[in-house]
Amino acid sequence: MNVPLHYQTAAGLSRKLAENEVSSEELVRAVIERTRTVDADVGAFLSWNEEDALAQARASDKRREEGKTLGPLDGIPVGIKDILAVKGQPLTCASKMLENFVSPYDATCIEKLKNGGAVLWGRLNMDEFAMGSSTENSSFKTTSNPWDTTRIPGGSSGGSAACVAAGEAVLSLGSDTGGSVRQPAALCGVVGMKPTYGLVSRYGLVAFASSLDQIGPVAHTVEDAALLLRQIAGHDVRDSTSYKTEVPDYPVEMRNRKGPWKLGVPREYFGEGLDPEVERAVQSAIDFYRNEGCEIVDVSLPHTDYAVATYYIIATAEASSNLARYDGVRYTHRSSATKDAIDLYFQSRAEGFGQEVKRRIILGTYVLSSGYYDAYYLRAQKVRTLIRNDFMKAYETVDALITPTSPSPAFKKGEKTADPLAMYLSDIYTIGANLAGLPGISVPCGFSRNKLPIGLQVIGKPFAEADLFAIAARFEEAHGYAKMHPVLPGNASAVDHPV
C-alpha cells in the first residue's frame, strides 16, 4: 500500500532521504501541498512560510549531496507550536497581545533542531498562552479535530496534534504544562509525550507555569517521538532548571529494553467521569500487556483527587507573574486610548488578553496575595509534594503506570466553553505527571463508536523515557493504529484509511 509522503514516518523518510529515494524538497513540497489542501478545514496553522521552508529543504539537499548531513532529522519538516521562539518568525502564542511580535532569538530546542538540519514548518495554533484544553481559547482561529471537524482537537497544543494527524507535517513540537501535548495527541490519534521536567531546556519556551512547563514531541510513531526527543533534550546553561544528565540514544535504547514490565494501574484513574468507551479501550490495552507477560499491579495514588485544584493554584500563580511582562510598554500590543501609565497597563492588557487568560491571571494573583498565600499557594505546594510522593511510592513496586490519557474522546466545539471547571477536568489524568515532574506518553489505543481516537497513557519514573518508549512501542507494534489516518474533506488521495 502506497503511503503518501506526508503520512510517512520520520524514521522511514530519513532512510529514504539517505538513499536518495526522495529529496527533502519533494518531501517538503508534499507537506506544503497537503497543508494547502486541508488546512482550510483543519486550521492547525496560524501562519506558514513556503519560501522559507523550501529554502531550508534545498539547503538540506545540498548538505546531503556534499555528504554533510546533520543527522536523521535533516530535511524532515517539523511543525512548531506558536509558543517556541524562532528567530525572525512570529511568536504570537495565539494572543492579540503578541499579534505583531517577531522573535529576535531562537529557543534552545529550535537551535538543536536547526543543528540537526530539520525543516521548521509554520506556526501552529494553540490555546492562548497555553491556557486551555481545546484550542478554543486561541484569539485568532479555531482548530478542528481532523477525525471530525465539528470537534475540538484538544489543547493547548491542538495545532501540533492536528497538523501531524492531518499529514501537514511529519513531526511537530508542542508544550505540555497540564497535559497539553498528551491530551491533544490522544484526541487526534497520534503519539505525544512530555519529558521529565528538566530534560528539555525551557529557554525560548514562552512561560506559562515555570515549574510545570515542558516541550514535547508529537509524531505518528513512538520511534519518531524518540528521534525528535533525542534531538531536543539535554542540559542547557541558559535554563537553570535544566538537568545535568547524559541524553540516552532513545531510538536505540528503546529497542534494547524488552520487558516484561511491572505496570501499575492506579485505581483513582478509573472511577467517576471516565467515558466507558475509553475505559474499555484502556482495559483492553492492559489485557494486552498482561498477555505479553507483564505483571499488572493494582496501585493507589491517594491524593489524585487534589491534583486539579493543586495544579490550578500553582499554575495560575506562576502564570500571573510570568504574564506580567505583557504590559504595552516594550513589545506587546499597546492600547491607543490611554491617559497615563497605569491606564496604559489596564487598557493594553484588557485588549490584549482573552477571557481564559484573564481568568487565570486573576486567580493566580489572588492565591499569591497577602492573607491568602498560606492558605492557597503554600498549601498547594505541600500537597504537590504529597502527590509526587504517591507516584514515587508506587514506583517502588512497578516500573510504570498505565492510565487513560483523556477522560473522553474529543468533545464538540463549544461543548465545554460555558463551564471552565468542566474544561479543567479534561486534564485530570495528565496533570499528575506535570505536578510530579514525571515523563508521560500517549499512544493511540482504539476508537470510539463514532470513530474518535482514544489514547493510552504511560507514566514513567524520572528520566526513564527510554523505558516509556519501549513500553509504548510494544503496544504500538502489535496494533495498527499508527497507520490509521483521518479522511479529510478536499483530500485527493484515496490512501487515507478510514477507520
Binding site: 522573535s103 525551557r202 514562552v206 535554563d239 532548571t241 507573574s321 501609565a341
Partner: protein, 483 residues
C-alpha cells in the same frame, strides 16, 4: 519634653561585576540608552535568568567583612509589581531567606576638633540580600522614556536596625560603609552614578520611651551630605509637629528637596504594595558550604578601622595622619611599602600626607600616576636621618623626585646637594657672619636666643643651604661663647 530620633537606613549598593546579575550582557554606566540589553534583560517572551556567581561571591565577602551570618541555604523570590522600569514587572530578589543575616558596621563620629578622633560606635545590621536593579525612567514634558541599561545590574540591599539617632551618625555610617565597599573591591559606591542609594526611616519618641514612633520613609537622598541634612531636617520637623500638636504625624513617604532644604510628602498613586512574593521557579536555591566560605574568607582585606588601630599601635601614628591615610587604601599600601624599606613610619607618613598629597593635588594627578616609588620616600628619610642632607634640602629633593621619578640619591648626587658638615669651611663662614653682624651678636649676648637664628640663616645662605644646621648651630655657639 525631650525627644530623640530613631533612624534606620536602607542602602542599595551596586556590585562591581562584568556582567549583569541574571544575564551575560555587560553591566555598565553612561552608555547609549538601551544598548546594555539582551532578551533576558528586556524580559522578552521565553527568556530565563541565570545566576552570576561573581555577584554572589561579592555579597558573601561583604557579609564576612561585616560580621554577618552567611545563610547555608538561601533562595530567590519574585517581588511582583508593575512599573515601566521593571522589565518583567517582577524583580528577582530575596524575601524571607536573605543570604546574609545580622552583622554590624563600625562607625566613627566627628571628634571635638578636626584633629581629635571622635567616638566609635557599632551600627547593627538586620540583613543583606541580593537582587537585580531596575531600569531608569527619564521624564520629559509630554512623555517619559525608559533606559534599561541599568536593569539587571546586581544590587545588594543592606538594612540596618533602627539604631542611629542623628544625621551625623547616618553620615558616619555611610562613610564607613563606602570605605569598606571600595577598599574591598565590592563597589565603587559613586552616588552620582547610582552605585550607592540610600533611603532613611525616621521616627521620633520621647527620651526614655522604648516603643518606636510613627515612621517616615525619606527618599531622594542623593549624596551622603544630603542624607545627613535630610535626616536632621526631618527630625526637627517631626519633633516640632509633635510639640505643636499640629496634624498628627502619619506613616508616609517623603521626599528630600536638597535645593530648598525641606521634605515634602511624595505624591504616590500606589496604594500599599502587596508584592505577592513567591519563590522564583526559574532559579535553584544557593547552598554556601564551608569550602566556599573559606576560599572567599582568604581574600578579605583588612577593615579600615582595624587598620587605623594597627597604625596607632604598631606605628604610633597620630590621628591627624591616620585620618588621611586610612580612607585611602592605595595610599596605605604605598605607605606600608615604604616602611618595609626603612622602619621610620612617622617620618614617612609625614612626607606622604603632606608633601606627596600636596604635589599630586597641585598637578591634578592621582596616586597611580605618581612617579615616586615608595622605596624612594624611604630612602629620602634615610638620607636625612644620616645627615647626608638637611631637612630643608630634602624638601627640594622631593620636588625633583616627583618631577623626574629619580631616586633621592641620584638627585642629591647630580645636583650636588650633600649637606656640608665640613667644620673647617663652616667655621670660616661662622667667623665671617659673626664679624659682619655685630648687632645680632650683641642681641644674642644679651640673652635673645632667637638672634642666633639670623646668624644661622646667614651661614646657610653662604652655603646655599647645604650646611648641616646642627653643626652650624654648634659652631656659632662655640664662637659666640668666646666673645
Amino acid at each position: 519634653m525631650e525627644y530623640e530620633a530613631v533612624i534606620g537606613l536602607e542602602v542599595h549598593v551596586q556590585i562591581k561585576t562584568e556582567s549583569k546579575m541574571f544575564s551575560r550582557v555587560m553591566a555598565g554606566y553612561g552608555e547609549e540608552p538601551n544598548t546594555l540589553t539582551d532578551p533576558v534583560v528586556l524580559g522578552l517572551p521565553g527568556t530565563l535568568p541565570v545566576m552570576n556567581k561573581k555577584a554572589i561571591d561579592q555579597i558573601i565577602k561583604t557579609g564576612l567583612m561585616l560580621g554577618c551570618r552567611i545563610a547555608p541555604v538561601c533562595k530567590w523570590d519574585r517581588k511582583n509589581y508593575f512599573y515601566p522600569d521593571n522589565p518583567k514587572n517582577y524583580q528577582i530578589s530575596q524575601y524571607d531567606q536573605p543570604i546574609c543575616i545580622a552583622g554590624q558596621v563600625e562607625i566613627e563620629l566627628p571628634g571635638a576638633t578636626r584633629n581629635l578622633m571622635g567616638e566609635h560606635k557599632w551600627v547593627e545590621l538586620t540583613r543583606i540580600h541580593l537582587e537585580e536593579d531596575v531600569g531608569k525612567l527619564n521624564h520629559f514634558e509630554a512623555d517619559s522614556l525608559v533606559d534599561y541599561n541599568r536593569a539587571g545590574t546586581p544590587l545588594m540591599e543592606i538594612v540596618t536596625e533602627p539604631v542611629m539617632h542623628s544625621g551625623a551618625e547616618a553620615f558616619a555610617y555611610l562613610t564607613a560603609l563606602r570605605q569598606i565597599m571600595v577598599q574591598g573591591g565590592i563597589s565603587d559606591c559613586d552616588m552620582e552614578k547610582g552605585q550607592l542609594r540610600c533611603d532613611a526611616n525616621i521616627s521620633v519618641r520621647p527620651v526614655g520611651e522604648t516603643t518606636l514612633g510613627i515612621k517616615v520613609e525619606l527618599k531622594n537622598l542623593n549624596s551622603i551630605t544630603g542624607v545627613k541634612n535630610g535626616i536632621d531636617y526631618e527630625i526637627k520637623r517631626q519633633i516640632q509637629a509633635l510639640k505643636e500638636n499640629e496634624a498628627p504625624l502619619i506613616q508616609e513617604t517623603r521626599r528630600w528637596n536638597a535645593e530648598g532644604n525641606f521634605t515634602s510628602p511624595m505624591r504616590t498613586k500606589e496604594m500599599a504594595h502587596d508584592y505577592r512574593y513567591f519563590p522564583d521557579p526559574d532559579l535553584m536555591p544557593i547552598r554556601v558550604d564551608s569550602e566556599w566560605l573559606e576560599s572567599l574568607g582568604a581574600e578579605l582585606p583588612e577593615l579600615p578601622f582595624d587598620k587605623q588601630r594597627r597604625y596607632f599601635e604598631a606605628y604610633n601614628l597620630p590621628y591627624t595622619i591616620t585620618s588621611v591615610l586610612v580612607p585611602d587604601r592605595p595610599l596605605c599600601d604605598y605607605f606600608e611599602a615604604a616602611v618595609r624599606e626603612y622602619d621610620k613610619p612617622q617620618a614617612i607618613a609625614n612626607w606622604i600626607t603632606n608633601d606627596l598629597l600636596r604635589e599630586l593635588s597641585a598637578n591634578g594627578l592621582s596616586l597611580k600616576d605618581c612617579r615616586i616609588a615608595p622605596a624612594h620616600v624611604a630612602q629620602l628619610v634615610k638620607l636625612v636621618d644620616g645627615g647626608v642632607i638637611s631637612s630643608n634640602i630634602a624638601k627640594e629633593v622631593f620636588i625633583h623626585m616627583f618631577a623626574s621619578g629619580d631616586s633621592p640619591e641620584e638627585i642629591v648626587e647630580k645636583k650636588g646637594l650633600k649637606q656640608s658638615s665640613d667644620t673647617g669651611e663652616l667655621s670660616a663662614f661662622c667667623a665671617e657672619v659673626i664679624e659682619g653682624n655685630p648687632r645680632s651678636v650683641a642681641d644674642f649676648k644679651q640673652g635673645k636666643e632667637n638672634a642666633i637664628n639670623f646668624l644661622k640663616g646667614q651661614v646657610m645662605k653662604r652655603t646655599r643651604g647645604k650646611a648641616n644646621p646642627n653643626v652650624v648651630d654648634q659652631l656659632l655657639r662655640k664662637e659666640l661663647e668666646k666673645l
